[in-house]
């Protein structure tokens, strides 16, 4: 009986109940994962936690959720989230309404704005740190703007050259949109 399960092919779970967004039920879902072989150019938005193990260029905005950049993750983007944890490489500004954690394996070039910032010894970090009040950070976060003091978002037109793969990622709750304003014909 127990061995039988091993032989069963893996198939999408036929959910007995329709899946509901976590915000509505309080249910904790596994974070969406951008795998190590995935590259995204464009904006990533969504309503669930996200783990990045691959490459992302553009902008990541999950104001009410957590973003984790794994050790193999390579991100060239501004990240706006509730909690941001970096163990890989990030070039861009981070704004979190709760906390930013830079792990010892991280290479982080950019500015950090959050009420709490944790830097592990040994991490590679160049940039500024602004630990502002939670309310102020939340305002900056919900406004969808990176114009908090010391954090300025500028469209990186250099991304346009590699925009051909834009929009190749589309997981439930997390969507990558091609940033057509940057795309070259």
């Amino acid at each position: 009986m127990w061995n039988k399960r091993e032989d069963e092919p893996i198939r999408p779970a036929a959910a007995p109940f329709p899946a509901a967004p976590p915000a509505a039920t309080g249910e904790r879902r596994e974070p969406a994962v951008i795998g190590s072989s995935i590259s995204i150019v464009g904006d990533v938005t969504g309503a669930e936690d996200l783990t990045i193990l691959g490459k992302v260029e553009g902008k990541i905005a999950l104001p009410k959720h957590g973003v984790t950049v794994g050790q193999s993750g390579r991100v060239t983007a501004d990240i706006q989230a509730k909690v941001v944890s970096v163990a890989g490489e990030v070039r861009g500004n981070l704004a979190a309404s709760e906390q930013i954690i830079i792990r010892k394996t991280a290479t982080m070039l950019g500015n950090l704005t959050a009420p709490r910032v944790g830097l592990e010894d040994g991490c590679c970090f160049r940039g500024s740190v602004e630990m502002e009040s939670q309310e102020k950070a939340a305002m900056a976060s919900t406004a969808g703007s990176f114009d908090a003091p010391g954090v300025k978002a500028k469209p990186d037109t250099s991304l346009a050259a590699t925009a051909s793969t834009a929009g190749s990622f589309d997981a439930p709750g997390v969507k990558a949109k091609p940033d057509t304003s940057l795309a070259r014909p």
């Binding site: 991490c123 970090f125 740190v129």
Partner: protein, 204 residues
């Protein structure tokens, strides 16, 4: 630390490595902290990039500055002991224009013949004390920057405090424009705004 007024928003440039405790301490003083981790950045550069003629471009790349960027204090720690004089001069040429008129620079210069292989990591414990971590074994020759050397490398700044510590480290607090202010004060017959230690040195 007393010069960093909590009621005003100060920006501190830390040339050392990122240390969570220091950032937390300075943030509690309403400071915005910028981390340069200069020694690590310089070591990661190629020999060509570190040539004297390339220093200007190198620091522009390592220390990109926003148009409205202003620094009220620079924490150089002992990083200058691990840089050539031309590197320090290039660095200060880049930073001096973006320092506020009364900006302060904290510099530790070893008076010993040999120093550890890499800069120490200075942790701010409280307003009065620091702890230095790192390999303490002397492994390389010290440049032994004296006060005249540092003043040459940092035009526009002059020494406000100078203390020789038991460890052989000379601690300097440079202030931008302090020399001019001091000269004016002396001309007026009074040493205003200078600390007792500063004025004591002047009287000597």
């Amino acid at each position: 630390m007393d010069s960093l007024r909590p009621e005003s928003r100060n920006t501190v440039l830390d040339l050392g490595p990122p240390l969570a405790g220091n950032i937390k301490f300075l943030s509690a003083l309403s400071c915005r902290v910028r981390i340069a981790d200069l020694h690590r950045s310089l070591c990661a550069e190629s020999v060509e990039n570190r040539q004297p003629e390339a220093m200007g471009a190198l620091f522009e790349r390592l220390l990109p500055l926003a148009p409205d960027e202003r620094f009220d204090a620079l924490l150089a720690w002992d990083v200058f002991d691990y840089m050539r004089p031309d590197q320090v001069s290039s660095l200060m040429a880049r930073l001096t224009p973006v320092c506020s008129p009364e900006a302060l620079v904290l510099v530790f210069a070893s008076t010993r013949v040999r120093i550890p292989a890499a800069p120490l990591r200075y942790r701010i414990l409280d307003r009065q004390s620091l702890a230095g971590d790192g390999p303490l074994q002397p492994e390389r020759a010290s440049p032994r920057h004296g006060q005249p050397d540092l003043r040459r490398m940092m035009p526009g700044f002059s020494v406000r405090h100078s203390v020789l510590l038991r460890s052989g480290i000379q601690e300097y607090l440079f202030a931008r424009g302090a020399r001019e202010e001091g000269a004016k004060a002396r001309a007026a017959g009074a040493l205003t705004g200078a600390s007792p230690r500063h004025s004591w040195f002047r009287r000597r």
